[in-house]
Structures are given as C-alpha cells and as structure tokens.
C-alpha cells in the first residue's frame, strides 16, 4: 500500500466524512431520543390508519402487520431517508473519485505519471472508502446509543441488536459503493458516474417501496439492495441478518472487482 496515495486520499475525503459523520451523529441522537416519544403519542390513533401503516411498512420493507410496536419506530431511525442519503452520499462521493473524478478535473495525468500502478491508486482509494464508511456508521451508532441512553431497551433495541443493524447498514454501504466504483470506472465525468450510481439506488429504493403495495413489484423486490436491509427484523425479532449482509457484501465486492478490471484496462483520456 502506497502511503503517499493514502495520505492524498485522506486529505481530500476527511472534510466531507466529518460533516456526514457529524450529521449522522446528530440525527441518530435525535431519532433515538424522539421516536419512542412519537410512538407513545401516536400509537393510539395514527397507527390505526391503514395508509400510514402501509407507508411505514414500505419504508421498513416489511408487512403492515409488523409495523405496530416500538421496534418499528426505532427501526425508522435506521431507514429514514436522510440517514440513508447521508450514508449513500459518503459511498458515492468517495467511490467516484477514481478514476472519474480524477479524469474530470484533469489530475489523472499527474497522478498516473507517478511510479504507481493503477491498482495502487484503486486500492488506496478503496481503503479510504471502507474506513470512512466504518467511521461514519460507527459514529451514527454512537449517536443512537447516546440518544437512547435512558430509554428502555424494548423501545430502542439492545446495543447488540443495533450493532447488527449497523453491520447491515455497512454492508449496504459496500453494495452502493461497489456500484459507484463500476460507474466511476466506465465514465470520464464524475457527474455522470454519480448519476448512474444514484439512478441505480433510486430505482432500488422505489422498487422496495412499491413492493409493499403491489404484488408484481414484490416479486421483483429481490433486485433491490434495500430488500437486504431490514432493521425492523433485527430490532423486533433479534434476527441476525447474516445472509443479507453476505448478499450485499458479495454484490459490492463483485462490482468493486469489475471496476478494478475496467480501470486497469481502459484508456485514460482527459476531457
């Protein structure tokens, strides 16, 4: 591992990582603190409304019957669109830096004129991708633990359950990042790579959401990465999502390898 390349990547990525980590910390403190209170205030009326239960079920990727209960509200802290957006932004922005980002800003010439292989560059960025994702999600977990400190475990889930949720979230981060790596390897413009990754992600999210309302979409839901991220099952049933984690990590790893092969073989032309 070339330390200089690592150093360069860290310098470029740490400001955004701090902002996203800080945002996730604040959100998780807020959610862990507030959601159980929302549940107490709303459960007697709002959750009786079928449409609202369906919407919550769609967000959680589960059946409506499972929505009733404090675990459902706690799970919302981990599937809230803002939380997912922050995690996905971290993944996509780190994973589209090389090669698309470097080609787009024209710095790839200087970078690849150094005595490093393309794989050296790819690996250094990959280490930063994996490490910053771990940091961001760990910070989110800390926020959730801090926010739910004085709240009973049946409302927030045990720390062990939340660790499994975060492991599942990290696997989702890896899957999203893998898709972004492939997009970055085939594109010369970072914007285009981000667009492709976002399009895949949004399609996944929408497919998973609509699966709660429609049988056809439900049959196709296995195509969505969100189908392998179901915090409610972990918090409600103390299920360990090992299979889901393995599927997501395999997907991410396959895409990452594909991206590496493409980058190693392609022409690099600055635009």
């Amino acid at each position: 591992m070339n330390r200089g390349l690592l150093d360069k990547s860290i310098r470029e990525v740490w400001p955004m990582t701090v902002i996203i980590g800080g945002g996730l910390l604040a959100l998780e403190i807020l959610f862990a603190r507030m959601l159980p209170t929302f549940y107490k205030n709303l459960s007697e009326t709002v959750f009786q409304v079928e449409f609202i239960r369906q919407m919550i079920a769609a967000f959680l990727g589960t059946e409506t019957a499972a929505v009733i209960g404090p675990a459902a509200m706690s799970a919302m802290a981990w599937v809230h669109p803002i939380v997912l957006t922050l995690v996905w932004v971290q993944a996509i922005s780190v994973c589209t830096r090389v090669p698309a980002g470097e080609v787009d800003r024209g710095t790839i010439d200087v970078l690849l004129s150094l005595p490093v292989t393309r794989m050296n560059v790819y690996l250094a960025e990959s280490v930063v991708w994996l490490a910053t994702g771990l940091i961001v999600i760990a910070v989110g977990l800390c926020g959730n633990v801090i926010g739910g400190w004085s709240i009973e475990a049946k409302m927030t889930g045990t720390v062990g359950q939340r660790v499994w949720v975060c492991a599942n979230l990290y696997a989702l981060y890896v899957a999203v990042g893998g898709a972004a790596w492939v997009a970055s390897s085939v594109c010369d413009r970072r914007g285009r790579a981000v667009g492709i990754a976002l399009a895949i992600l949004i399609a996944s999210f929408v497919l998973n959401f609509l699966a709660a309302f429609n049988e056809t979409f439900k049959r196709l839901s296995f195509l969505s990465v969100m189908d392998y991220y179901r915090p409610l099952f972990v918090l409600q049933g103390d299920v360990k999502p090992i299979k889901d984690i393995l599927v997501l990590i395999s997907l991410g790893a396959s895409c990452w390898i594909a991206g590496a092969i493409i980058f190693a073989r392609r022409d690099v032309r600055t635009v």
Partner: protein
C-alpha cells in the same frame, strides 16, 4: 536501443487514427524535439509512453521496458509535465513535494528547494491561488525534483515569461550534459532550434521527418540581403545559380541562398556590392513545409 524505442505504434480512436505505424528511437543523453501541427499525434504518442493509452498495435518501450506492462517501474525514473497541466487545488508547493516524496519513496526536498529558488515560487501558496505561470512552475518542479533519467515535457514554456524560459533552458541543458534525456514536445520552433539536438516531426499521425538539427540547418533556406553600391544598383547583373532573388528594390536584392555560403562570398567579391548580410538558416520555414 535508445532510451525511448517506439516500434510500429498505431493508436486508433474508433475510426479516427491518432498515430499510424510510428517507429522512432530517441537517443540517450540528448534533448529531443517532438514537433507537429495540432492533431498530429504528439500527445497520443506521449500518453502511450506514459501508459495512459493502450496501443492498438505496435509497442513503446522506455529503458527497454514495455510502457504498458512495466509502466510503474519506468515512471520511477521519468518526470512528466502534461501539456494541459492540472493540479490539486488544495496543494501548496511544499505539500506537493512532501506528498510526491512519499509516493515516490524518495527524498525530494533538497532538489525541490533548489528548484523553488530557481523558479522563484512561493512554497506556501495554494494551487487555487496560483496564476497559470505559477502552476506551470510547480509542474516543472514536480517533474524535475527527483532528477529523472528521462524528462517528458509537453509545452513546458507555456505561460512562462522569457526569464523563466531561460532558466528552464539552463536546467535542461545541465541535465543533458549530465547524461539525462529530455523528450520535448513543443510548438515553439525557436525553442526547438535552441535546445534540441534531434527532432522528429509528425503529421496526421505519421512520422514525416526524423533527423538532427544540424542536418536540418544544412537544408534550411538562408535569406541573403545584398545592398549594391550607388553607381551600380544591381540592374542588369544576372543572379548566380545558387541565389534565387525573391525581391528587388532599387539598390537592394533579397534572395534565398540555395547553395554554399562560400560560393556566394566568392561571387560577391567580384561584384560592386556595398553590403552583404547572410541570415541564420530559417528552420521555421522548413518546419512549416513539413507541417503542410
């Protein structure tokens, strides 16, 4: 084998040909000029040498190593300045030297500081606050700091003032004298004439000339100005066969010398000539003939 050996190199971009069947050897320890009009394939060739582009056919080797398979080893001893230099906006010169030192695994500060003094760059200014000329200087410092065996420079004097150009030329000549090689791509014909011992000229992806500057000088046209003495303004005097008169005004001829200078001097000794001026060989016209 020269320090750079290109053999039957072809690079296609779909239907468009970037470089076609190029074979070229660059001798070691010299400053080699690489010329051609826009779109002639110079940058394509350089990018193949650096492993940024994969050849469609043929091969390119530096130090006897294949540019595609062993690029990272080659680049340990290559310094490169791109024609369109872009740097990381957050870098300062000092930070850049530190990072590049770590990436190259070599100490670059001593030579880097010397070059900072030579080019007069403030080491604390960030790239985002630099002018184009300052960025060009930083690019040159990063290319030169590890004293590479081979320098590949694409338009190195772009955005540099004449004083900095002179300093760069001095650095390049010193490197060449010490046995380092320079592969210089430039649009400045005067620069090539001043610095290079050999040139190669590309046109439409093909090599149209590859010879020493000395040979080119021998073939280049020389302009001659003859001022006739007042009583015999040159009318009625037939020009000799080695002189082609291109312009006549009363009392003066402007001509092109197509033969030897000694023949002209011998002939002019017998003529009522007041003044004779023979200009340096005009390589720019010769180059432009190749470009067309």
């Amino acid at each position: 084998m020269g320090i750079i050996a290109i053999e039957n190199l072809t690079k296609r971009y779909g239907r468009r040909v970037g470089v076609a069947d190029l074979s070229l050897e660059v001798p070691e320890g010299a400053i080699f000029g690489f010329l051609g009009p826009n779109g002639s394939g110079k940058t394509t060739t350089i990018r193949v040498l650096l492993g940024l582009l994969r050849p469609t056919a043929g091969s390119a080797r530096i130090f006897g190593m294949d540019c595609v398979r062993e690029g990272h080893r080659i680049k340990a001893e290559v310094g490169y300045l791109p024609g369109d230099l872009r740097l990381y906006s957050w870098m300062t010169t000092e930070l850049a030297l530190r990072l590049i030192s770590r990436i190259r695994g070599r100490e670059l500060f001593q030579e880097g500081r010397r070059l900072i003094d030579v080019f007069g760059l403030d080491p604390a200014v960030r790239v985002r606050n630099m002018s184009r000329g300052m960025r060009q200087k930083l690019g040159l410092i990063l290319a030169l700091a590890h004293r590479p065996q081979l320098l590949i420079l694409d338009e190195p004097t772009a955005s540099l003032d004449p004083l900095m150009q002179a300093k760069l030329y001095r650095e390049l000549r010193t490197l060449a004298l010490q046995g380092h090689s320079v592969f210089l791509s430039s649009h400045s014909l005067s620069e090539v004439q001043e610095l290079c011992a050999h040139v190669a000229i590309l046109r439409e992806g093909r090599l149209v000339a590859h010879e020493s500057i000395e040979n080119l000088r021998g073939r280049a046209r020389r302009t001659v100005t003859i001022r006739w003495s007042g009583t015999a303004p040159g009318d009625g005097i037939p020009p000799p066969p080695f002189l082609t008169v291109v312009d006549r005004v009363p009392g003066e001829w402007r001509a092109v010398l197509t033969g030897k200078a000694m023949d002209l001097i011998s002939w002019s000794a017998t003529q009522p000539i007041e003044d004779l001026a023979i200009e340096e060989p005009d390589l720019s016209t010769l180059f432009q003939d190749y470009y067309q």
